[in-house]
């Protein structure tokens, strides 16, 4: 009993409260109210997902037919009946050369997903084998003071996901390390605030592409004498600079708008300025700081794709770009797989932040 209680608490805490209702359904202890909640929280979303897939399926089919009809029509007007028949047969056979290249259907996307996983398993096995093969040699090379031989094969889809996550976390960390302290200083000092205000107003709306170019100019020169690949550095710095503004503004606002009553308490207790900042100002602005961090993380994840693409830095963004350029049979389906993966990871990152926020914040409101 106690265990299920904590399970309910935990799932509710991280915003997945409906899970415990499903459990109740299976264990049989459910009343009318619970059933209504179950209906609203699980059945309705599930039904809407099915509806979405259905509409997608029909839409994809309509687009496919439109493009197929157009191709046959075009063959007919350009080259006559025989060419039109050949085109129709070619399309029906599913050959890459004539297949309509449009929105893939849900089942194609699902197939691509499975093929990406298969591909990953093959690459992972390959990697493991490589490691085993080179283990002895590498040991010797290290002993001789040489660099290890590393696997340089193609990264799998899953590898790309982890590269992207690595970039986004590095960028997020950079944003946090710059924006929170700077925001605190700006919030505490009206002088700094007016010094930085123009800066924030001008740089906040700058687009990720421009940030990337700016960072590229600077980092390229800074690392001019190193032959390391700088694409990772450039992309995580760009991500950090793009996404830090929400945290900067929210932190400054939180710090400068601490409730007068709390400041009065600090004065009456005669807290020193250090104590005042750490015991009163920061705790009271924590909810706003976290709101900022949450926005920062989601912005970071959103701009990451575009920046990876520009920087040619390995990750989901580059994956999407390469698939688009590639134009293989299932490229479009793979792009859609990547889209869902990006969306789902974005959602999970948001939940992660919410969980941390609930955990550190005194203000236990169910923010969404």
């Amino acid at each position: 009993m106690k265990q299920s209680l904590t399970l309910g608490k935990v799932t509710k805490f991280i915003g997945l409260g409906f899970l415990s209702t499903i459990k109740d359904l299976f264990t049989g202890n459910i009343d009318k109210e619970d059933f209504k909640t179950l209906l609203r929280k699980t059945i309705v979303p599930l039904a809407s997902i099915l509806l979405f897939i259905g509409l997608w399926h029909m839409g994809a089919k309509a687009l496919y037919n439109k493009e197929a009809d157009f191709k046959i029509e075009k063959a007919l007007t350009d080259q006559g009946q025989a060419a039109a028949d050949a085109m129709e047969a070619c399309i029906a056979s599913g050959d890459v050369s004539c297949k309509p290249n449009t929105l893939p259907s849900p089942s194609q996307v699902w197939d691509s997903y499975k093929s990406l996983l298969r591909d990953h398993n093959i690459i992972a096995a390959d990697k493991a084998a490589f490691k085993e093969k080179t283990a002895a040699l590498n040991e010797k090379r290290v002993a001789d003071g040489l660099d290890e031989i590393t696997y340089t094969g193609r990264p799998s889809f899953v590898d790309q996901i982890f590269r992207s996550l690595k970039t986004v976390f590095a960028g997020f960390l950079l944003a946090l390390l710059i924006a929170v302290p700077l925001g605190i200083f700006i919030g505490l000092s009206p002088t700094l605030k007016s010094a930085f205000n123009w800066f924030i107003q001008i740089f906040k709306p700058v687009s990720p592409v421009v940030w990337y170019l700016l960072v590229f100019m600077i980092v390229k020169t800074l690392l001019i004498d190193s032959n390391e690949d700088s694409s990772f550095t450039i992309s995580f710095i760009s991500v950090g600079l793009c996404s830090m503004w929400a945290t900067l503004v929210n932190t400054a606002m939180g710090v400068s708008s601490v409730d007068k009553d709390y400041i009065n308490v600090a004065k009456v207790l005669k807290l020193g300025s250090f104590q005042k900042i750490f015991k009163v100002v920061l705790p009271s602005s924590l909810p706003l700081i976290f709101t900022g961090l949450k926005i920062t993380l989601s912005v970071a994840w959103m701009v990451l794709i575009a920046i990876e693409l520009l920087a040619q830095s390995p990750g989901l963004g580059l994956f999407v770009w390469e698939e688009f350029q590639n134009g293989a049979n299932d490229s479009n389906a793979k792009i859609i797989v990547a889209m869902f993966v990006i969306g789902i990871i974005g959602f999970l990152l948001d939940r992660l932040m919410l969980t941390i926020q609930n955990w550190v914040s005194f203000d236990k409101t169910d923010a969404i």
């Binding site: 709390y262 009065n264 308490v265 004065k267 009456v268 207790l269 015991k279 009271s284 924590l286 005194f362």
Partner: protein
């Protein structure tokens, strides 16, 4: 030289068009060990007066002297119980009190500090709630935490801004007795702001009405010559009590009436003579 002295205090908020003089020509002196109560209507400037004394704000004109020295900023010698509790919501009851005690007695060990916290939390009967956060408490319980926090710092002078307003009659009575107890036993000086005349008479040596603002001034003082310790149940039959109570209430009702007729006049006046017009007129004459 009185223990606390307010000389010709004026306090104005805002500037230019929004300027409003809340307090005018306030004179007050409190002797060491005295218990003084100030009664007044809401919005008359009681909290402003309290903040001038505890050092959170400065007077526009005049001076506040504490033990002969001008007040500049807050001091641990003057403990404050705020009207709106002002507890830090991210700290538990115990932590709120601990934070204050730690600042007041920086040399004491952690264990000693925790004992003080436990004592004062027990005094306001909140021991069962010591690990709860203010959000989980009722208004009355929060006010009790604020009382415990201020008293635990053992200030020489206790300044209370309507400290018991949100409490039920029973707790209110208990806390009144606790405050009186501490004040009497440890020879403190106390200033109580209240809107309850009975509470003032039960607790104070003197009651001074604050006339309604703007430009609030202090009214004539009423001495409470009833022997301590006072007994609440007997108080109702005490002839002296009845006489003082009636006198104060009559005075307050009179100024309440005045205020009503004042405010009617105030509404009519600007209608008859628009400000700008009068000013222009003046300039022409000059």
């Amino acid at each position: 030289m009185a223990y606390l002295e307010l000389n010709n205090i004026y306090k104005t908020y805002g500037q230019g068009d929004t300027e409003a003089e809340v307090l005018s020509n306030i004179n007050l002196s409190i002797e060491e060990g005295e218990f003084v109560a100030i009664v007044g209507f809401t919005g008359s400037g009681k909290t402003t007066l309290v903040n001038l004394i505890n050092g959170l704000i400065e007077p526009t004109k005049g001076e506040v002297l504490f033990k002969g020295e001008p007040v500049s900023g807050t001091s641990h010698e003057r403990g404050v119980i705020f009207q709106n509790y002002s507890l830090l919501p991210w700290l538990t009851v115990g932590q709120n009190v601990y934070m204050a005690v730690k600042e007041a007695f920086p040399k004491k060990s952690k264990k000693e500090l925790q004992e003080i916290v436990a004592d004062y939390v027990e005094m306001v009967s909140l021991t069962p709630a010591i690990n709860k956060r203010p959000k989980e408490l009722s208004g009355g319980m929060r006010q009790r935490v604020a009382v415990a926090r201020a008293l635990a710092m053992k200030p020489e002078m206790i300044i209370m801004d309507e400290p018991l307003g949100a409490l039920d009659a029973l707790t209110r009575g208990n806390l009144q007795d606790e405050i009186l107890n501490i004040w009497g036993k440890e020879k403190r000086t106390a200033l109580l702001i209240t809107n309850d005349v009975d509470e003032g008479i039960y607790m104070a040596d003197r009651i001074i009405p604050l006339r309604p603002g703007p430009n609030a001034t202090l009214g004539p003082e009423f001495k409470i010559d009833i022997e301590r310790p006072r007994d609440k149940t007997e108080l109702n039959d005490n002839a002296n009590f009845k006489k003082t109570r009636n006198a104060i209430i009559e005075y307050l009702m009179d100024i309440g009436e005045e205020r009503k007729s004042d405010s009617i006049e105030e509404i009519i006046l600007p209608d008859l003579s628009p400000k700008d017009f009068v000013n222009q007129f003046k300039y022409k004459i000059l």
